[in-house]
């Protein structure tokens, strides 16, 4: 259906509400930069997705699963003690995606795609994973819906996240450590793409974020937009108004698109995405595509990218495996370029400080990914006095708490030097679950 959309269309996306913007292009970004062998499968997926989106029985089945299995709607929690660390008089609300089954927002997209897989009659799903959250969610949906599941994971990540490897295997998935390249998320995606080319007749690539070739960015956004829709209604009940700012961390960008989407067409709502600043932009060890990257093509889509002057992908760095990716979803690149959302870096140290603050003020252990959003809220606290709020009421910041931190206990224990002996930290990893 996208055949023949060449040239001029790449740079001229149609108008209309931002929240319903369809692929394959988001301004100058997006597209399908993949081998021809995959085009038929992408066309099939695009067709099936749009058929399902128009089919009330599909929506009903997904809603039933979300209600009875995921645990939706996820709560909205006002965090007053944490807000004192943001700025005086600011109200901060967390959208609690950390309380979903499997521990993060990832399940929203996974269940949606897995139901599509059943509709397409495919029997096998493959997925990439970095920290393991998307792999665990995919293995979970595969167990539930009786699908064969293979998860590709960089060898370095399988060692850093050994427990998530065990979780996936408990759920019946095959975990394949990827030993080529940098042995991290990017290489896991390459290997999943190679598997998909070879097995596309029976296999669906259950991509975990709003990147990759069309229709993934649009489809994954639509499976996650429930986050913002719920939060908008919940917040209206609490405050009677829209938030002044919506804040999320951005790796590939799925949790951020999920919470941004419902607010894209509300111009009074400021949207902030926080990327992994790692050890600082100047250090070169970061995953800040908007501060340190340039437009380019990687893994099927055109977006902002960490690359050298030859177009070779540069390694990214973050304390958070889930944000450690050299590119970002094309819709974020577009929202950045048109000025609808603002993207800023948060360093490892800032994220870990926010992680500590939330633990100790609210009794919530966030994923380190989500701690980047919390650190972003603290950054915004320094400028919130300059915001005009209607009737002079207190500014309201909505933060997407995209995941919980059980998986990060060992990393945090090492960061804060909570356990004297390193071997003991490793031995204690078994207690994370």
């Amino acid at each position: 259906m996208t055949t023949g959309r060449t040239g001029p269309q790449v740079t001229s996306s149609p108008g209309g509400p931002l929240a319903t913007h369809a692929g394959p292009y988001f301004g100058d970004f997006g597209g399908r930069f993949v081998p021809e062998a995959l085009i038929a499968a992408l066309d099939e997926l695009d067709t099936e997705f749009h058929k399902a989106a128009a089919d009330p029985t599909f929506a009903a089945e997904l809603a039933r699963l979300h209600r009875t299995y995921t645990g939706r709607p996820s709560p909205l929690t006002e965090v007053k003690r944490f807000a004192e660390h943001v700025a005086p008089g600011v109200r901060v609300f967390l959208k609690r995606e950390d309380l979903n089954h499997t521990g993060s927002h990832k399940i929203n997209n996974v269940l949606g795609q897995a139901l599509l897989v059943k509709r397409m009659g495919k029997t096998r799903v493959i997925a990439e994973t970095g920290a393991g959250q998307h792999g665990v969610a995919t293995a979970t949906a595969a167990a539930l819906l009786d699908l064969e599941c293979v998860v590709y994971m960089g060898e370095e990540d399988t060692q850093r996240q050994a427990l998530n490897v065990a979780r996936m295997r408990l759920l019946g998935a095959t975990v394949v450590p990827v030993t080529i390249g940098s042995r991290t998320l990017k290489d896991a995606i390459n290997e999943a793409l190679r598997d998909w080319v070879a097995n596309v007749d029976t296999t669906h690539y259950l991509l975990g974020t709003v990147t990759g070739p069309h229709p993934f960015p649009e489809m994954v956004r639509d499976f996650h937009k429930i986050i913002g829709e719920e939060a908008k209604a919940q917040l209206a009940e609490e405050t009677g108004a829209l938030p002044d700012a919506v804040v999320a961390c951005v790796g590939g960008g799925s949790n951020a698109m999920g919470i941004f989407n419902a607010f894209l067409d509300d111009p009074s709502v400021r949207l902030f995405g926080f990327e992994a600043g790692g050890e600082g932009i100047a250090s070169g060890r970061h995953a800040s595509r908007f501060s340190g990257g340039t437009p380019g093509v990687l893994q099927g889509t055109k977006s902002y990218l960490l690359q050298d002057e030859d177009g070779q992908t540069l390694p990214s760095h973050s304390v958070s495996a889930g944000l450690d990716y050299p590119s970002v979803g094309p819709e974020h690149a577009w929202l950045h370029d048109i000025g609808r959302a603002e993207y800023r870096p948060v360093t490892d140290a800032e994220a870990m400080e926010a992680f500590r603050v939330l633990c100790q003020t609210e009794g919530i252990i966030p994923a380190i990914e989500s701690a980047h959003a919390l650190a972003g809220a603290i950054q915004l606290g320094r400028e919130v006095a300059t915001w005009d709020t209607p009737d002079g009421r207190e500014p309201v910041i909505l933060v997407n708490l995209s995941g919980r931190g059980d998986k990060d206990v060992a990393t945090a224990a090492a960061w804060f030097d909570l356990i004297e002996d390193k071997p003991v930290v490793q031995a204690d990893e078994g207690e994370q679950l």
Binding site: T6, A37, I180, V197, D201, G300, L305, G311, Q312
Partner: protein
């Protein structure tokens, strides 16, 4: 205008070989493996031993269409400091043999260099054109324009999964030949070549392609002979790379790729 070419250099070579009653042998090597000079010498040796068209791979950090043998070679090339700009000097030296030289590249390095600038410098170096494994014509308007402006060949891929509409669209957008992927998968040696390859060649011709060459998984003289019966060219990559990788010395590497080339060329000569 000094450049008076009006037709595909690769297409002309395929036509000439067809007149001789055989398919072309297209040989792939990645630039910079084992180093830039070594890859040029190996490509020249391949031409001298019977390769008709050289496919020079530009090393890229994320080669999603390549299997382990080529992934490893490309890693070595990048670790050794191979740069995109090294391609133009290499093309010039290999093209001096008279064989058409196509650069096989993933799209981002070209995008980063500048599509028109890349086309201009490739044409100036005497290159014949590009093979673009992750660029479909739908996304390639800049390259369609630049290749037309600089008179270069555009080799797009078709696969067993391509619909008739896409075969026609891709055939119309290609110049030189259409690269038919023999099988659904990545590069690498296979004991059998997909049975769908012959049908795909016939379908691609029926969709309007003048020349169709077959690649992916082809490594043995018998496979080359089988494909040489029905295709305009036989594309071999991993077998050359493996021969080069397995050699202890530069001289042994050149001997090894020459032996592979000679065997494949003999296979093709006995096809028809």
């Amino acid at each position: 205008m000094s450049d008076t070419r009006t037709a595909s250099r690769t297409g002309a070579a395929l036509d000439r070989l067809k007149g001789e009653g055989r398919a072309a042998l297209v040989g792939y090597l990645p630039l910079g493996f084992p180093d830039v000079a070594g890859s040029v010498r190996a490509a020249v040796a391949m031409v001298e031993a019977g390769v008709d068209v050289i496919e020079l791979g530009l090393p890229y950090s994320d080669p999603v269409m390549d299997g382990p043998v080529i992934q490893h070679a490309v890693d070595v090339a990048l670790a050794g400091g191979t740069r995109v700009r090294d391609a133009f000097g290499a093309v010039e030296q290999i093209a001096a043999t008279g064989a058409p030289v196509l650069v096989m590249t993933y799209w981002n390095p070209v995008l980063r260099y500048g599509v028109d600038a890349f086309a201009r410098d490739l044409a100036a170096a005497g290159g014949a054109g590009l093979i673009t494994p992750d660029l479909i014509p739908d996304e390639g308007q800049d390259w369609l324009d630049a290749s037309a402006a600089h008179d270069l060949d555009r080799v797009f891929l078709v696969a067993p999964s391509s619909t008739p509409e896409r075969l026609a669209m891709t055939a119309a957008a290609s110049r030189g030949f259409v690269y038919a992927a023999s099988t659904m998968g990545v590069t690498g040696e296979r004991t059998t070549v997909g049975a769908r390859a012959e049908q795909l060649v016939a379908d691609t011709r029926a969709a309007g392609a003048e020349h169709v060459c077959v690649g992916l998984g082809v490594s043995k003289p018998e496979q080359a002979r089988d494909i040489g019966r029905y295709a305009d060219g036989v594309i071999v990559g991993s077998a050359f790379v493996r021969a080069l990788a397995g050699a202890e010395t530069t001289a042994a590497g050149l001997d090894a790729v020459s032996a592979v080339a000679a065997g494949l060329a003999e296979g093709i000569r006995t096809a028809r």
